[in-house]
């Protein structure tokens, strides 16, 4: 006997415990199977692009901190890169190394959160997340040592960084970096061999290579689908061409591959930080930049490999103190375009896990 069902529209969000913020999805369900999904944005649209046009180049760094609040250092890096390109500013060696260390630490911290929340949504309620938070707090301690803030750092400045590291920073970093691989391996062993986790992630939410490229997906989600594209290798910025590291690439493109990418990338980030610590020269941390910067007329696009994908800033200058146009290429926002492809045809219980595996931050999606 077969039952006839009618399509049924269900809202998830904007207030929903597992939407990583204010995000809303309108599901059309046939029984338990998703027929269609529409992401609805804008519940955190704060008008950063407009507000940034009213402040000068240095002041705009604070807006980038609050975009993707889990990866503030990376946002700073992308923005100052664009401004330095626009104004033709050189950055001292030591500052470049400090930037690399900070952004790679930020990547580890962001991936820890992604994995933690993904497992939370898989049903491992809170326990793995608490362990991830324990490790993240140690990274935040390191950042606090450097710039006194826990979440919004404003550390990278145009032409350098705001202050040099204190004496006790490098030993503390070394202690942390030495202990981290053991922790990651332990979590990975506990989780990746877990039957439930494998059942719920393998071959679910497969993103095909062609679709990923066609939808402009970037970051770990793109690499999980088998595309070897990392801005650090493809278009090396800062001093990434000096480091020896691998780009992990997935084969299937399912949730498990996306989870795997994050674990592997943490190991690669540790490798980069170790090399940067060994090579770091002493010297200046800030080049001479006018107090009120007036870049020449023109435009520049600075992009980096942020933890969530390619983050870019497209700036247009009219020769005045404020940017004429301040556009962000938001990685999480663009990655969400594959949501419909991934979720159509799966059960509603998997939808939240798929959503968690894309890894978004609403501050960046809506800006």
């Amino acid at each position: 006997m077969t039952f006839k069902t009618e399509p049924f529209v269900v809202n998830a969000g904007p207030q929903h415990p597992s939407t990583h913020g204010l995000f809303r999805m309108r599901f059309t369900l046939d029984g338990e199977v998703i027929q269609d999904v529409e992401p609805v944005f804008g519940y955190l649209h704060r008008g950063i692009e407009k507000l940034a046009e009213g402040l000068n180049y240095t002041q705009d760094i604070v807006f980038t901190d609050r975009m993707d609040y889990l990866t503030s250092m990376s946002n700073n890096q992308a923005y100052v890169l664009a401004v330095e390109k626009l104004a033709g500013i050189q950055v001292p060696e030591r500052a470049e190394y400090l930037r690399v260390i900070m952004t790679e630490l930020m990547r580890i911290s962001s991936h820890l959160m992604t994995v933690g929340f993904l497992l939370n949504e898989l049903g491992a309620f809170m326990t793995p997340l608490l362990y991830m938070f324990r490790e993240r707090e140690k990274i935040l301690d390191l950042f606090e040592m450097v710039c006194g803030q826990r979440l919004t750092y404003n550390y990278l400045r145009i032409g350098g960084v705001s202050q040099d590291i204190p004496e006790e920073f490098l030993p503390a970093l070394k202690r942390y970096i030495d202990s981290l691989p053991g922790f990651i391996a332990e979590y990975d062993q506990l989780l990746a061999e877990n039957e439930i986790l494998l059942m719920r992630t393998k071959n679910i939410g497969i993103l095909k290579r062609e679709t990923a490229i066609n939808c402009s997906v970037s970051g770990p989600v793109l690499r999980a689908s088998g595309v070897n594209w990392d801005i650090r290798k493809a278009d090396p910025y800062s001093i990434y061409d000096r480091f020896d590291f691998d780009v992990p690439v997935g084969s299937v493109g399912d949730i498990y591959d996306r989870y795997r990418m994050r674990i592997e990338e943490m190991h690669q980030s540790i490798r980069i930080i170790k090399q940067a610590m060994a090579q770091m020269p002493s010297g200046e941390i800030q080049s001479k930049v006018p107090r009120v910067l007036r870049p020449p007329k023109g435009e520049a696009y600075g992009h980096i490999e942020a933890p969530k994908g390619e983050l870019g800033f497209y700036l247009v200058s009219d020769g005045s103190t404020n940017p004429y146009r301040f556009h962000v290429r938001p990685s999480s926002f663009i990655n969400l375009q594959v949501l419909r492809e991934l979720m159509t045809g799966v059960k509603i219980a998997d939808a939240i896990v798929i959503f968690g595996s894309i890894d978004i931050c609403l501050g960046e999606v809506d800006r």
């Binding site: 944005f41 804008g42 649209h45 008008g47 692009e49 407009k50 507000l51 009213g54 679709t211 490229i213 066609n214 939808c215 402009s216 997906v217 595309v227 594209w229 493809a234 278009d235 090396p236 696009y301 390619e310 870019g312 497209y314 247009v316 004429y324 146009r325 556009h327 290429r329 926002f333 663009i334 969400l336 375009q337 809506d366 800006r367």
Partner: protein, 148 residues
């Protein structure tokens, strides 16, 4: 290093293929007429040697007298990039053909440009506001939209 393709090389090819559609070319930027943007984008995507399979971002800039829509195209295969621009002078009803049928990556970004800058993309499957709500007056990223 993502190679910035020299515009002069491409513009010569485009000029023979689509005569009279180019407005300007300098550095790695090509400016084309809005009515021919779809054909040129399609040509750049499908021609061997260019293979711009990846649409990095779309944005728009308000220059008071005209709007400039900016497309940054990248080829993952050859690792080169190109900035494609188009200008529309009509301030009341600026219209540009949509490229969603070439790259699905344009879908939300075109909606965002429509929402915040008020440029209509002809042929977009579902052009409606994305960040702001239906009923919001004006387009905030235009230069004549003043904050309180």
């Amino acid at each position: 290093m993502t190679l910035a393709l020299p515009a002069t090389e491409i513009s010569a090819k485009l000029e023979t293929q689509f005569p009279g559609s180019l407005v300007d070319s300098s550095g790695n930027t090509i400016v084309v007429k809005p009515e021919s943007i779809f054909q040129i984008a399609s040509f750049l995507k499908n021609t061997p040697g260019f293979d711009f399979d990846y649409l990095n971002f779309i944005t728009a800039v308000d220059y008071n007298t005209y709007f400039e829509v900016v497309y940054y195209l990248v080829s993952l295969e050859h690792n080169h990039g190109l900035i494609l621009k188009t200008r529309c002078t009509n301030r009341e009803n600026p219209t540009v053909p949509s490229v969603v049928s070439l790259w699905n990556g344009a879908n939300f970004q075109e909606r965002e440009v429509y929402d915040l800058m008020g440029i209509k993309f002809e042929g977009h499957p579902n052009l409606k506001r994305i960040m702001l709500w239906e009923g919001f007056q004006g387009h905030p990223l235009r230069k004549d939209f003043k904050l309180q």
